[in-house]
């Protein structure tokens, strides 16, 4: 058994913590979500409130856990949605070629010209602030990313002899895409999905910070940051903790994606 790369292990551990906490919040939090204790606002860490309370006396740990869950849910739905559409477009572009391929790839080029986050913010702003629109915006920016990865990988697979054998058998290009191309491009697509998950978490935080993402009373790291910024001198910990959570989640998924690429990409594997 080959030794696993360090980024895979560290990323895996960070992701496990974040996902574990998010999953735990579904069944248990230290305090009920959004339970306020106005008299106990800005409390410091204690046995009751492990990290203290915020400006409304809500338990910080509970808020952070609920935020992790909301963040994961948004990122998961958005990446699955955008990733599926993008992968299918990439497969179609590769299978059909000609003007269809040109059209899909020029569309991808155009959307790549926009900075990712700015584009999501623009979309969410145009369609109005709601959780649904935030998810759609993040999904949308994922479409060209996956279309490119899927097309590039698929083009390689189309030159394999087993694909020619399938053509000799009389298989059509859509059947070949389903039977041979998709299973053989799964690895790079999954790697990309992991990396895009990190981008999606960051995008969700940014949108929520601007009030375009997760809406009250649901909590989100980005919303916690924006609420805490006016209180930075009074209670800096209210901004520091959600900030750390965002860093942990983004770093975790980024490292995990890099690590997965290292072990699945045969070009890199041979060098080691």
């Amino acid at each position: 058994m080959r030794r696993l790369p360090a980024n895979l292990i560290i990323g895996g551990v960070l992701v496990a913590i974040v996902v574990g906490v998010a999953a735990l919040s579904l069944v248990w939090t230290p305090h009920p979500e959004n339970a306020m204790n106005i008299r106990g606002k800005f409390a410091g860490p204690s046995a009751t409130y492990w990290l203290g309370t915020d400006q409304l006396g809500r338990d910080l740990v509970t808020q952070l856990m609920a935020s992790a869950r909301n963040s994961m849910a948004v990122a998961l739905i958005a990446v699955l949605l955008g990733g599926s559409i993008g992968t299918v477009l990439g497969l179609l572009a590769s299978a059909i070629g000609g003007w269809v391929e040109d059209l899909v790839m020029r569309f991808a080029d155009i959307s790549f010209a926009f900075p990712t986050l700015l584009f999501a913010i623009m979309l969410a702003a145009v369609f109005g602030p709601s959780l649904q629109n935030a998810i759609l915006a993040i999904a949308f920016i994922n479409v060209p990313v996956f279309a490119r990865v899927a097309r590039a990988s698929a083009n390689q697979i189309w030159t394999r002899e087993y694909v020619f054998a399938a053509r000799a058998a009389g298989m059509g290009r859509f059947a070949i895409s389903r039977d041979h191309i998709l299973p053989n491009i799964a690895a790079p697509v999954i790697v990309q999905a992991t990396i895009e998950f990190a981008v999606a978490i960051l995008a969700e935080a940014a949108l929520s910070y601007l009030g375009l993402g997760v809406q009250p009373p649901e909590s989100s790291w980005g919303r916690m940051l924006s609420e805490a910024q006016t209180l930075m001198y009074l209670a800096p910990q209210l901004a520091i903790w959600p900030g750390l959570c965002i860093v942990t989640a983004v770093l975790g998924f980024g490292l995990l994606g890099d690590g997965l690429r290292d072990i699945t990409d045969p070009r890199l594997a041979r060098e080691r």
Partner: protein, 258 residues
């Protein structure tokens, strides 16, 4: 009736442009090639790499179209057929490739791959029994159908590729360097297998190789290609005994046959 008839086939490719304003030069990969292959016979196409022999194979398999000329199988022009008609004709001609590691999908079992030509034409009645039969015909066990390609050796994989090619009972098999990537002892086994199958099933073989010694051993006729041009064509023993073109002579010398 002639099984496969290749008539004055030419294929050109445009090379990448060298300067901004000029289109790239044209390369004639196959230049006016013609041959006939009768049912049950073997035709060898010989040439070095770059001679156009694989391009010819791809055109015979209708993976690409010739720029000029016709390719007829059972008297039907492959490039004039409607897609559905071409698909219906596919079970009649199959191909075995060079690379036993690249010709099987690593994510599919041997049985799945062998049954693919049956599924493609919707001819799935008794598919399992026919896959088992094909495996036995190539010297493997029916139980091997459940295994994945990485569990087999190179020679065994080539047997699986041959099983996939014969499962539809084709009249023609194109063997594109089908033994070139194998060890010499395994080469002999696979060649014997192909010749046995030819006798049993009445297959015609279009045997494409750079190796004249292999071709001379199994072919009735040969066609020698150099840079896309047919330089010599005729009965195998005649060409071997009295090569007329210097290129054929040099190939014979290279193969250690003179």
């Amino acid at each position: 009736m002639t099984l496969l008839s290749v008539e004055n086939v030419t294929r050109r490719y445009r090379l990448p442009r060298k300067s901004l304003l000029q289109a790239g030069p044209m390369l004639t990969a196959v230049d006016n090639a013609s041959f006939r292959l009768e049912a049950g016979k073997t035709l060898g196409i010989v040439g070095e790499s770059g001679s156009g022999k694989s391009t010819l194979a791809r055109m015979v398999m209708a993976f690409e179209r010739p720029d000029a000329g016709r390719i007829l199988l059972d008297g039907k022009d492959l490039n004039a057929l409607a897609p559905a008609d071409l698909r219906a004709l596919r079970p009649r001609f199959q191909i075995v490739f060079q690379d036993p590691y690249g010709s099987l999908d690593p994510r599919r079992t041997a049985g799945w791959s062998i049954a693919e030509p049956l599924r493609a034409t919707g001819d799935t009645a008794r598919a399992e029994a026919r896959v088992a039969e094909a495996l036995e015909q190539v010297g493997l066990r029916p139980a091997d159908a459940a295994k994945y390609p990485h569990e087999f050796s190179g020679g065994q994989r080539q047997r699986i590729a041959i099983a996939r090619a014969i499962v539809t009972r084709p009249a023609l098999i194109v063997a594109d360097e089908a033994v070139s990537a194998l060890d010499v002892s395994v080469q002999a086994q696979i060649l014997n297998l192909l010749m046995d199958l030819q006798d049993d099933l009445g297959l015609a073989l279009l045997f494409i190789s750079h190796d004249l010694s292999v071709v001379s051993a199994i072919c009735d006729d040969v066609l020698v290609l150099e840079h896309g041009k047919t330089v010599e064509q005729g009965a195998a023993d005649q060409v071997m005994a009295a090569p007329r073109h210097p290129y054929t002579k040099s190939l014979l010398t290279a193969a250690g046959l003179t």
